[in-house]
């Protein structure tokens, strides 16, 4: 396995510990530095507030030339998150840049929570509700917030 990917992930980890952006945390599994667990706290003043959403990030030896695959482990209700937890987020796909580290990835996902793109739906129901029935959308989001505490 590439030692470069390992070294870079260690640097990512150190940065996340020394200079953690608000509302996110993450760490590699003790026995596998390529697999990370992370938590994103729902941003305040959004329907996701108070949620503690767990994610898994799977890196491979091509990191940071290639992005990790990222998915929500916690149940999520969001226009850009598929039912299996995978995300539709440009920086994890066709706008990936090796300038992103784990902190930047998690921060982007956090801002996706309160700033969904209903035109690029991964969850059509969530996208429709977000556009047409915000009250019901908020109620459904509230459900996953409560679910995230379990």
């Amino acid at each position: 396995m590439s030692t470069e990917a390992r070294r870079r992930l260690m640097r990512d980890f150190k940065r996340l510990q020394n200079d953690p952006p608000g509302g996110i945390s993450g760490a590699p599994c003790p026995d596998n530095i390529l697999l990370w667990n992370a938590v994103i706290f729902g941003p305040a003043d959004t329907p996701f507030e108070d949620g503690t959403f767990k994610l898994a990030l799977q890196f491979d030896e091509n990191y940071p030339n290639k992005p990790p695959s990222v998915k929500f482990i916690s149940k999520m209700f969001h226009p850009n998150v598929y039912a299996n937890g995978e995300l539709c987020l440009d920086i994890l796909q066709n706008r990936w840049s090796p300038t992103y580290d784990v902190a930047a990835i998690l921060t982007s996902i956090q801002s996706l929570l309160h700033d969904p793109n209903p035109n690029s739906p991964a969850n059509a129901e969530a996208a429709n509700l977000f556009r047409e029935n915000r009250k019901e959308y908020n109620r459904r989001v509230k459900e996953v917030v409560e679910h995230s505490w379990e």
Partner: protein, 354 residues
């Protein structure tokens, strides 16, 4: 996809013309339409790339499809790992799946071309257009008067950076001039403080510089490479993409540090930081005039680009010269300009007749 930072800067319109290759990239979806000839504006960011494999002349243009990420022009552009969910609408599922498959098929086609190819006689370029545009054939004949060979690069959106990197290393390798080589090493070393000043974290550039960039340039500077070895380096995904990324980072850092000068070239809706993250730092995103200016100035490497378009207004191929400023470079040794060939959406390397 299609979330987050957008890249619809309209400053630099270029001509799209008849051309021989189908110009496609992983981003181009179903908007490939065929025109016959006349000039046409398009936003330059549309990632059109040559595959060098299709020989029917066609004019390919893409517009809105690849444009603004923050306000996507349609609802069909979500693809994620080819998977859609059970609760996604049936329609969305089909489109998403189709897009994914289409992107994959293009990607596969593009990947048939090595990242950097062996040189070919310029006649090969002519032959591409034998069934195609007369204008192109005339221009290639003109081009062939002064240029003998072409070296193709893969049309993956990184072709400018890769072509630049290869041509630069090769020029240094061939020059045998130790002063030139040492000053290239110094230009690269001088980029390190730029990154810091532009606000990049050390983890973004330090390892890449130490492990790959400095190492490779030192080998070049020591005259230890021949053409085959250089080709091997540039055909190896990992190293080749590190070099591409590093050149992207230099471009972005330079643009950020000269934002007053370059921001007017961007569309009104984009600031320099957003522009850099979505179309300079991000891999596979094409380079435009502004990128070329920044990189050549940052590294003080002169470049000439032959712009070949299907416009019959000019019989000659138009050369654009990107020479670094005189200021500061006085007294330093000068490198013979790298020569690149640009056809709408794609860069290759050209070789002058001696």
């Amino acid at each position: 996809m299609n979330m987050g930072g957008g890249v619809d800067y309209n400053n630099s319109t270029t001509e799209t013309h008849e051309k021989t290759e189908a110009s496609i990239s992983s981003e181009v979806k179903e908007t490939v339409d065929i025109h016959s000839g006349s000039e046409k504006e398009e936003t330059k960011e549309t990632p059109i790339e040559n595959t060098n494999t299709i020989t029917e002349p066609q004019n390919v243009s893409t517009t809105a499809e690849t444009a603004p990420v923050s306000s996507p022009s349609n609802e069909t552009s979500d693809t994620t790992e080819g998977k859609t969910t059970a609760n996604a609408a049936q329609e969305a599922q089909i489109t998403s799946q189709q897009n994914w498959e289409y992107e994959q098929s293009i990607k596969k086609e593009v990947e048939k071309t090595p990242l950097v190819c062996l040189t070919e006689d310029i006649q090969k370029l002519y032959q591409e257009y034998e069934q195609g545009s007369e204008v192109y054939r005339q221009k290639i004949m003109k081009l062939a008067e002064r240029h003998s060979k072409i070296r193709r690069c893969r049309g993956d959106g990184n072709c400018f950076y890769r072509a630049f990197g290869f041509a630069w290393f090769e020029r240094l390798m061939d020059s045998k001039d130790n002063n030139l080589r040492q000053s290239a090493l110094k230009s690269l070393a001088d980029t390190i403080p730029l990154f810091k000043e532009a606000g990049y974290q050390e983890l973004v550039y330090q390892d890449i510089y130490e492990e790959h960039i400095e190492k490779q340039m030192k080998i070049v500077a020591n005259g230890e490479y021949d053409e085959d070895m250089l080709l091997t380096i540039f055909q190896t995904d990992e190293i080749s993409n590190c070099i591409v990324f590093y050149l992207r980072l230099i471009t972005a850092a330079y643009l950020k540090l000269h934002r007053e000068e370059y921001e007017p070239f961007l569309g009104f809706e984009f600031g320099m930081d957003q522009f850099c993250s979505s179309s300079v730092e991000a891999m596979d995103q094409e380079a435009d005039h502004i990128h070329v200016m920044a990189l050549t100035k940052a590294l003080k490497v002169p470049v000439e680009i032959a712009y070949m378009s299907g416009s019959d207004a000019m019989e000659q191929v138009n050369f654009h010269e990107f020479y670094p400023d005189d200021e500061g470079s006085k007294g330093t040794v000068t490198l013979k300009p790298l020569v690149l060939l640009y056809r709408p959406g794609h860069y290759d390397i050209l070789y002058r007749r001696e």
